[in-house]
Subunit: 326 residues, 4 copies
């Protein structure tokens, strides 16, 4: 059972983000990043990239401030789901089952210690394309889109947190995530931690929130989509610059993960990362986490390319506390 834990969570299924500017945010994800809309319901639009196999990988919900809705993980099996839920219930961070949403069946909700809302699920709906989108490339659920500079799939999510270690330990202990790389300050505290459940260096990162005072806990640093080819970062940079969308940094190469990447602020205010390749992959089952020192943090984030923007550790969404009147 303990030996199975590290394999019980299989993948990042989807992420929900909030936006105060749904029209502009949808333009960004659909017309520029080439995501396809699969459904609309209430204040939410469901989207997926052309190599995402399920109903959606991104849910965009209108709200008065940008930020993170929830993060959805798929378990390795139905029994793996049960095993993890049993542990989550004991952890004190379990919230309970929901019946599901468009695109998936029942899911167990929980939060990180900092309050980032997550869910774990097994039942998912597979995307079925229309006939004109069927492709001879049989391992792809639809044709490559002819609009924008289309991303291929969702890659990872990065959460700002008041306590990297505490949130990291929660994901490792309750859900079997493995620590791949981290930045440790000279006082021993962690500035950032990159965790994964696969050979990817991370599906989830936590970074110390250095700008949260007015915004509360549980902020989003970024959600990332994957291209696989570095040129597409250049193509996207052209398009964004010509359309006056802010590129925060890059294209550049990360130290952590070795990925070619760039950061963009989508019109709703959320930071989005684009990955231009897969970076390095970790197949070693006995991987020793890579530790970067405080003075190496700039190299950890940027192996080469643009210097680290000041706002990088401070900007997250939401920027102010949201007072909800639901």
């Amino acid at each position: 059972m303990e030996e199975l834990k590290r394999f019980d969570v299989a993948q990042l299924a989807h992420v929900e983000i909030y936006t105060p500017k749904p029209e502009e945010t949808l333009w960004f994800f659909k017309d520029v990043l080439g995501l396809c809309e699969t459904a609309r319901e209430g204040q939410s639009v469901y989207l997926r990239a052309y190599e995402d196999f399920y109903h959606h990988s991104l849910k965009i919900t209108e709200r008065n401030e940008p930020g993170l809705g929830h993060i959805s993980w798929r378990s390795a099996s139905n029994s793996a789901l049960d095993r993890r839920v049993a542990e989550l219930q004991k952890s004190g961070y379990g919230k309970g089952w929901i019946d599901g949403d468009l695109g998936h069946g029942h899911a167990y909700q929980f939060t990180t210690p900092d309050g980032h809302l997550m869910e774990l699920l097994w039942d998912v709906d597979y995307y079925q394309c229309t006939d004109d989108q069927k492709t001879v490339l049989k391992n792809r659920p639809q044709k490559r889109p002819l609009n924008g500079v289309p991303v291929r799939r969702i890659d990872h999510v990065n959460c700002l947190t008041s306590d990297v270690t505490k949130n990291k330990n929660f994901m490792m202990n309750e859900l079997g995530f493995r620590l791949r790389e981290h930045v440790v300050r000279n006082d021993g505290s962690e500035l950032g931690a990159w965790l994964s459940i696969s050979p990817l260096v991370h599906e989830l990162a936590f970074m110390k929130d250095q700008g949260f005072s007015e915004s509360g806990l549980g902020r989003l640093h970024h959600v990332a989509f994957w291209y696989g080819f570095p040129q597409h970062l250049n193509d996207l940079s052209e398009v964004l610059t010509e359309h006056d969308i802010k590129i925060e940094a890059g294209p550049l190469k990360h130290g952590v993960s070795q990925a070619m990447c760039m950061y963009v602020i989508e019109p709703g205010g959320n930071r989005v990362e684009l990955f231009g390749d897969s970076g390095y992959l970790i197949f070693d089952p006995d991987w020793k986490p890579v530790t970067w020192k405080e003075e190496e943090v700039e190299r950890a984030i940027i192996f080469y390319g643009a210097p680290l923007p000041e706002e990088y550790f401070k900007y997250g969404t939401p920027q102010k506390i949201v007072v909800e009147n639901k």
Copy 2:
């Protein structure tokens, strides 16, 4: 236990190939592909790519014909090794433990039904670079080499076989490999099968040997190394063409795996594949194998690029039966 099986084998550790022309083969792997030599012993030279973490990923042994020495898999843990060995012993294909080799401790040897020699191990030596090769990129075991068009790590191996289904089932049943894609002929027999133990589409493929009559069973189709960036396939193609090394096919894009790749015959006669990107990755824990029909085989191998060379399904190593006088 059954649930753990699919996670018990973690990765491809190394491959041994034979060459009748050790000098030329070493020139190819060292000067052109940028591999580093880590040891020599007897008729063997041990090499690794600059992002391979262990002592070696390729062992080149002099012999009168090219071909496959052995394929080495690393288990997910010591107990995983024990579990798999217990099963292998029951399977009738187990050969027994060896004490180890340069770079690793004791290993359990076995063969596929067709006789490809394999081993499973847990104890490995990590590569320690010299001081001048230490790098600020802390997740990389050494600096990127300044010679050749250097590959980053070993990727996969492809074996020719008299019976794809039988050999595939052995790897799936005894070692937990998962079928990712296969080509099925109209008579129901499998022409090729791509198997993996990770999100990679394959660490191991079997293809129907259509040219083995004079060569016996257990032939090698190719061993593959990984670049991560498609341009390096172009760079390598220039170098190979100028140095009169045969490019069998490519650069091109596979249907199966979606990887940008090329095939080269190294001077000793073995086919080597180079991967220019990671292709698509499979994170879905409930993946349904992609089935390509007989008439789709050309598209399965080549999504776009050069047509399929005739020799592709016929050429393997060794080409003739080796009469050994050990």
Copy 3:
């Protein structure tokens, strides 16, 4: 005057092609290659790529067979135009002045010895984009399009001919083109010649027509557009393969010109080439033409990549003689 001749023709201005399937041909150039329509008149549609500075670089005219309409060259100045026209009139191949067309003023028409219709002009209209297409990249006439895999500019044109040497000499003697590379058969006749008026290796090529018997003279081999980045050839290859558009060859690297390229047959039947980089550029004012022998022709066309398709020297447009009933 003689010294000025080699500078009198400055650039390829535009090319007109015929198509029997205007809808499909326009879909190909607009939706797939990202060209912008700037005008329609009669049976013709005028298009340009996003870095073409003039009114149009491609004119597509409906006709019952595909083929070449005309090739338009821009002179280096008004006086250069006059100098060349004076020579053309003496050559016997001059046809006379036309008043102009959409996008340019008066032009002098002439033919090659084989009858390919050409024109030389000075007055051109510059493209003026709409406000929403204005870009901060001030050396580009409009934003990069968000549709298709957009080409950047027209690059060159390749004409099939009954006599390479005769047609080549005409362009060199009358218009100052310089021979950059050629393939010479063992009997001394030229199989292909690549000519330019700039550091590009060619704006114009002639190749021996080996399939013209039923089609008459003056056939088009291909017109080429330029990307500048090799990845776009891969992107386009994906799109074309998924939309069932025939890729004749490539992506591959030419020997002649060293360009990364691919050949596509557009739905109307004309061959289109895409250039993924600029190849090498010739700045040497005393350049000695590179001569490839008959047995080197395959290498001349394909430095590495796909083998030479059989139809390459035989297929051109039109394929049959056009009987016009205008």
Copy 4:
């Protein structure tokens, strides 16, 4: 005669730079950038990139401070050389003929108004490779090197100047250079000007020297070499970062020229630029210079990528006035 002026200078032939650290500078150019040494004489070493056709494109001379030795231009013909020399002699900036140097015959020396030493020549020696370096790629003077991340040819040179307009006008009036793009400050003075004698956007740039007070006039901003493929900028960035060579900026995309590029300080102190593609090319014979305003200067230099480093307009070589004791 006046009409010929703009064609009389054909290309950048070579550049001489000074270095106080010849060993380290040679390591940089040979082992990292893959240049080949063709000769040594006195305190100078002669080098060329693998697609440079002449004896050398870079001369490195030991001296107590880094900086510019001279810039050598090749004329379009012998008579073009005579025409330009006649004008230079009248200009007051002519210095006189020298007998030649290794790799070329007699040359006419002159300076810019700011004192940058230049020469104009016609007679050059072509590089002849050794037999083992002969290549089947007949338009390339040698095989692609197997060491470093090899550049293909020299591209351009950028000079710091006390008066952009004055130096620019000299090159335009006396030598026929054409203004392609410039940055004009709100007071009407030019901050930078990019000039060419070919479709390249520049073989020569002048930028306002904002840090010359202690260094005197005639400083070098950078010399640039060309790759043709953007990935090589990434490859080089890896190598440089791992070898602790300073990347000043990039990889990034210029606004001016649209080229993918990066800036590096070689161990001797000179700034070197690497071009990853050809940018856009200017074929329009009636090109109107692109004018960037003072407030657009950041975009002019960096279309996307890293922000402009502060030192960019201040750092040049030499940094201090050189007191020579020849």
